[in-house]
Symmetry: C2
């Protein structure tokens, strides 16, 4: 992410509100998770229905029972203290809310009620600090003078998501004499969230933390669900922890400063939810991709909320990735190979996932598990989102194979993959597939 500021600026325009305490609580839908050889997952049929009591606020009605959710009533939205939409991640006594809305960083009490202790460490990067650090410090301290806020500003980029950079967080925390009752705050994109979360998991054997994601990628995916960690030179996210935050605070205004390339990268994960489990969401995306690229605030608020609902439901059912949660990695095994093979930071995560998704879809088709029209639709929407649909030319078959061999989904030497199977919105997580199909896919996408 370059330190640029987009010309797009709809301050307080990207708004989505609901009545107070309208938590979308997700409950168990499939408790009979099986492990290998193969697991199939069907699209959920949850219902999203938001109606604000206040006519000052934007009203969004979205119902998954129709082919595409309607967004049919819009009123004014200018309050900076509106009640945010909230999606609950249901993990027993470790449950937490995801707040989604415009201007949430203008509501100090929202953030402050999740801060434990009197010490806070904000972990951010050189791009985000000039934009939102001051505001975040204000949100933490306004009306709360006894709190001590420290910050550590890391270099920006996937290439810095490593142990060396992580140690800077520990150094700062220890030098600031932060104790076990402190709270770490991740202010940034996926790299910051992953590193701050792992630092919080490990500092003094675990302190509280809060996610404030500022990219689409982080808002729709990485900030939710407690996967934290760093990369190893031989593979992505190989060192880390499952560690849940106290809350996720998504101020959609932060997207106003997001570069186009970063925005598109995040859309790769939005598209993923549609392909693996939410056909109606996918169909909505097909109709609204241009609105998303134009940063239409209503469309974006909806896409973020629906993505978070999908993510929260999956995490609630399978926190530690025994099976179901692995399906969120559609395209990621190929994608991680691209990121690691090219060198971290060359392609954005979502760009690599997009190309990886095309490869996974291609392989699913070669196995006879999906029909050609789904291949075309997947390719088309990724292209519409300005995402790559082929891996970089420098990637060879051997590079793919060597990185994929250390993927976290390998079990007893067998590489398990997420592949589409059946109609749109259905997938499997399996190690039972014809090896020739994988070979053929790699050959089709690599020159050597």
């Amino acid at each position: 992410m370059a330190a640029s500021s987009s010309s797009f600026c709809h301050k307080n325009a990207l708004s989505l509100s609901t009545p107070s305490n309208n938590h979308t609580k997700l409950t168990s839908r499939d408790s009979s998770l099986r492990f290998p050889p193969s697991i199939s997952f069907n699209a959920p049929r949850f219902r999203v229905s938001l109606l604000s009591k206040s006519n000052r606020n934007l009203i969004l009605k979205a119902s998954a029972t129709s082919a595409a959710p309607a967004m049919d009533q819009i009123t004014s939205s200018s309050s900076s203290s509106e009640v945010p939409t909230s999606v609950e991640v249901d993990l027993g006594n470790r449950s937490y809310p995801i707040y989604i809305g415009s201007g949430l960083l203008d509501q100090p009490q929202l953030l402050q009620k999740h801060v434990h202790g009197k010490q806070v460490l904000i972990v951010t990067n050189t791009t985000i600090a000039p934009l939102y650090l001051e505001k975040t410090i204000w949100a933490l301290t306004d009306g709360n003078p006894n709190i001590k806020v420290e910050s550590v500003i890391l270099p920006d980029g996937e290439q810095f998501k490593n142990m060396e950079t992580l140690m800077k967080v520990f150094d700062k925390a220890i030098e600031s004499r932060l104790d076990r009752r402190c709270t770490f705050v991740a202010l940034g994109g996926g790299v910051i969230g992953d590193m701050c979360g792992y630092a919080a998991a490990s500092y003094l054997r675990g302190v509280n933390f809060i996610q404030i994601p500022t990219t689409v990628m982080a808002q729709v995916d990485s900030s939710v669900g407690g996967k934290t960690g760093i990369n190893h030179r031989l593979g992505k996210n190989l060192i880390g922890a499952f560690y849940q935050p106290q809350c996720v605070l998504i101020d959609t205004d932060t997207l106003n400063t997001l570069p186009d390339r970063e925005l598109a990268s995040g859309l790769a994960e939005v598209i993923k939810y549609g392909l693996i489990r939410d056909a109606e969401f996918f169909e909505w995306q097909e109709k609204n991709m241009e609105a998303l690229l134009a940063r239409d605030p209503i469309a974006f608020a909806y896409a973020i909320k629906r993505s978070c609902e999908n993510k929260a439901e999956v995490v609630s059912l399978d926190e530690k990735e025994s099976g179901l949660r692995a399906t969120l990695n559609l395209g990621h095994t190929f994608g991680h190979a691209i990121e690691t093979g090219l060198g971290y930071g060359q392609w954005l995560h979502g760009e690599a996932v997009a190309a990886g998704t095309v490869m996974a879809v291609d392989m699913s088709y070669r196995l006879g598990w999906i029909d050609d029209s789904l291949v075309q639709r997947a390719n088309k929407i990724l292209k519409l989102a300005n995402l790559p649909t082929t891996p970089p030319e420098t990637m060879t078959i051997d590079m793919f194979k060597s990185v994929m061999a250390v993927d976290k989904k390998v079990a007893d030497g067998l590489l398990r993959l997420i592949l589409l199977k059946g109609p749109l919105g259905n997938c499997v997580f399996t190690g039972e597939y014809d090896r020739q199909a994988l070979e053929d896919t790699l050959r089709a996408f690599c020159k050597s």
Copy 2:
């Protein structure tokens, strides 16, 4: 620890057996843990009673109802496949056994039943590898040819318990393509156990691990309870995780090769249990310290088991150190300051804890919380165990204060300490004490 082999060698003489499945299950004793300002803890009144059904085995009867446990019946003990004593750490679905006995590494099935998957990584050091690595590999593979065992041999010593050394474990695991179903095995003392455990907690966000402690320190304390981590240059164990093993396998034969200095170091933790919560055990130690120093196998087996019972009970009641568990750190805040101030590896952990215990006892006396006879008894038994009772001369008051300020027990700027209060076997964990007493203790033990 030097790579020396003690002349003491009672192979299969240090034996302690019980009937099969004689698990000492510990249940909740005090569920009403309070946090600050102050917590008091009384000695437990549990009963230890072991009787073997087999007259081939050593029989030990120990009853905490008498002032000192009797060890009054000994029969022959030469079998290498005897049933081990087992102490259970009761943590719900994460409960695990601690096996204690002679020749346990000669019983492959005992170890193998706790190995998950087909891949094992043994983490050990340059001292222990020549002594026990081959035997451990044999125990893992005998009759189990499908298992793949890798090992990584780290440098030996507290000065290597850092991120740089930890990365060697990750490097080896990734290069060996170990997947999520693998098992890490810690073969060594406390440093190896702490590092291997933290590596297991973090590798692929968590894999199984087994503790095979080979020092008194690790057998009576550090291998039990799931505290894992590494040091930071500014303080001990500041980075880590609470992460429980699948089992702890204590083969008391491994003590045969332990240098005297390491053996004495471990006794500091044994003495600690007596002082903070087990007066009868302390009285037993007063009578049996010479036997322990002479490595009497019966005395040692009893001291290890009783220590593990104390540790297991505390961990079962307070896994994440909300209160009670902190009492296990008697002398550790002063001790960690010595270890960090002197430079890791200069003094052994137990040596620093011994001097720290004398300081904590001195401070307790200055506060008027214990009488002089307890001060004398604590000093006497530590001296009997050949442990230091004053900090190194190079330690200054400022060195103590600066390291103690980053101790994990600091809360909201207040340093909480474990201090004795009342009769032998009682202590408090508190931040409510006269600061002058701390000053006076530091002045009494430091030249400047």
